[in-house]
């Protein structure tokens, strides 16, 4: 693990301080938007951990978000857990789900994992609707009213920072190098003695924590969840687009993608829902074909920036 240069550290501290004092000056709308942005940074960063680093595409990462939201909401409504603890439990639930899916699918090379993830959110939606007693079925779950936007703002921000810091730690470590070896050539990685299954599984488990916790926080923040609101394919698509646009397999790519696309989405595209999704499809195609390393990859090439950003 290498330590960033002092100037970079200073910049980071200033940025964090600005975000931390923002609620004292910002409008209610501004604070809500920032909270959303933190959520997207955490989600995009988490997707990057499995798909950006190992090359195993997760088409269903929203499943971890959704199961975190349900686990936390059930604990809050049925067992009166405090929301912070319940959200952390949401992270645990997401890891458990990741283990169940990752164990059979990641032992194999190839597209099995991607496709298994593709079907996962539909299945969870069906299961949640079926177990009505626990989940409220199609009616959803209403959480007790609570005014906690500000604490949730800080916790969500902390999760976004944690995911980004974790990404930095992984990318600059031997563990991260092994993950990237798997991405570049899995057979060679095996020949070098890397236990590819365990590494892929570990990456998946780490990538499930963030969405699980964030799901719990988002559920608490909105006060109401239902199957269609926490398992939308659109959330997975947005995560993928953010990471691809910013630069997959990098530390700051997901952050950059989340910031740029979130504000564009808020300012312009939210009014044209299908056009907006169509554009996301087009961005994915364009990035894969024209700039597979994303915006950050282009900058790295042009300005000879280090690989570890």
């Amino acid at each position: 693990v290498s330590v960033p240069r002092p100037a970079v550290l200073l910049l980071l501290v200033v940025a964090l301080a600005a975000v931390a004092v923002y609620p004292a000056f910002g409008t209610g709308y501004g604070v809500r938007s920032m909270l959303q942005l933190f959520m997207w940074i955490a989600l995009a960063g988490s997707w990057n951990l499995i798909s950006g680093l190992t090359g195993y595409v997760s088409f269903g990462h929203v499943a971890f978000f959704g199961i975190g939201a349900y686990a936390a909401s059930i604990l809050i409504t049925k067992a009166a857990w405090p929301w912070l603890l319940a959200s952390l439990a949401g992270g645990v639930a997401a890891v458990a789900l990741a283990l169940v899916i990752g164990w059979p699918c990641l032992r194999l090379k190839g597209p099995y994992f991607a496709i298994a993830m593709l079907g996962l959110n539909e299945v969870l939606r069906a299961l949640v609707s079926y177990f009505e007693g626990l989940t409220g079925g199609g009616f959803g779950l209403s959480l007790p009213t609570l005014q906690a936007t500000l604490p949730i703002y800080y916790v969500m921000g902390a999760v976004a920072v944690a995911v980004t810091a974790l990404t930095y730690l992984i990318i600059t470590s031997r563990f991260g190098l092994r993950l990237m070896t798997i991405r570049e050539d899995e057979i060679a990685a095996e020949a070098m003695g890397i236990d590819t299954f365990r590494h892929k599984l570990m990456a998946l488990l780490l990538s499930a924590v963030g969405p699980g916790v964030v799901g719990g926080l988002a559920a608490r923040d909105q006060g109401y969840i239902e199957p269609i609101s926490v398992f939308p394919l659109a959330t997975t698509i947005t995560m993928i687009v953010m990471v691809l646009f910013g630069g997959k397999g990098t530390v700051w790519g997901p952050v950059l993608g989340a910031v740029v696309l979130f504000f564009l989405q808020e300012a312009v595209w939210a009014r044209f829902i299908y056009l907006h999704q169509l554009l996301f499809g087009a961005i994915i195609i364009a990035v894969v074909l024209l700039m597979p390393r994303g915006v950050l990859g282009l900058l790295q090439l042009k300005y000879r920036l280090p690989r570890t950003i």
Binding site: A116, L120, L127, L278
Partner: protein, 292 residues
């Protein structure tokens, strides 16, 4: 909920499962061909099926043609779409890492679904043509499903015959076994790729036409078919084309049994559990490895 399960109900389930199975097999064969020849999992396979259903709907409602007669039209249209996709986009990722082709076809899938939302709106549409059922003793078969079964079986048989005994079919199988050797034998591999993507899309379109008369048509009807087709391929063994038949029948039966013993809601979850179990126990598929 205490339901008495009679032999007639089981018979009904087996019949419905087999009827659905042929459709699954035909659609999955399209995905399996593309995967076998190019090692590309086409995530847009389901949305192509959706376009096939719309093709039938529009031709039927504009011209009043018998919807079964629209089959060649929708297949030809989607063959063209498939060739176009391959020619403009997919050929660029055939040799790239798997991540690229998965993400590219995922992007195509999103684009197609949302183009359909924009162009056709998300209203539910239906082709009400062959309603009602054939009744044989205690078992009833929905007419449109019986016809869909027969047509799907015929098309699948035709596709196998094409692969088995025509020069082009042999070229496709050769390319799927080894691209380099196929090239050495003078096969134009690029053209085989175009043809394969077109054929795969046409098989999806045929599925779309047939289920247009069974379920409601809407832009998001397709995605679940990508997953189901892949499940069928895994059940039968990737790269093993006849395996798709077995896989399709098995998926149809399992879904119907789940609907009988559990609820329809859970039948989708059961199909998923089936995938996970097969990957765990026998990842090479029930019929074993690659044999084209």
């Amino acid at each position: 909920m205490n339901v008495v399960i009679t032999p007639a109900m089981v018979g009904q389930v087996v019949v419905s499962g087999i009827l659905a199975g042929a459709l699954y097999a035909m659609v999955a064969l399209g995905l399996a061909l593309i995967f076998g020849v190019m090692r590309v999992i086409n995530i847009a396979h389901g949305p192509l099926l959706m376009l096939g259903a719309y093709a039938t709907y529009f031709v039927y409602s504009v011209t009043g043609l018998n919807p079964y007669a629209t089959l060649p039209i929708s297949m030809a249209a989607l063959f063209a779409v498939g060739v176009l996709l391959q020619r403009t986009l997919v050929f660029r990722v055939v040799d790239a890492p798997e991540l690229s082709s998965l993400l590219l076809t995922f992007g195509v899938s999103i684009a197609l679904v949302n183009l359909a939302q924009l162009g056709f709106s998300s209203d539910l549409r239906a082709v009400e043509f062959l309603t009602g059922s054939f009744v044989a003793g205690p078992i009833a078969f929905s007419k449109s499903r019986v016809v869909a079964f027969l047509v799907a079986a015929a098309i699948t048989a035709g596709a196998f015959l094409f692969l088995k005994s025509t020069r082009l079919g042999k070229a496709i199988r050769a390319t799927s076994q080894s691209r380099e050797v196929a090239m050495v034998c003078g096969i134009n591999v690029q053209r085989i790729h175009l043809l394969t993507f077109g054929l795969g899309s046409a098989l999806a379109a045929a599925g779309g036409t047939l289920i247009a008369m069974i379920v409601a048509i809407q832009p998001e009807m397709g995605q679940v078919w990508t997953f189901k087709s892949f499940l069928v391929i895994v059940l039968g063994g990737a790269g093993n084309y006849p395996g798709a038949l077995l896989g399709g029948m098995l998926l149809g039966l399992v879904e119907q049994l789940a609907a009988l013993f559990l609820t329809t809601q859970l039948s989708e979850a059961v199909a998923y559990v089936l995938l996970v179990v097969v990957l765990l126990v026998r990842p090479t598929g029930l019929l074993g490895g690659r044999q084209t």
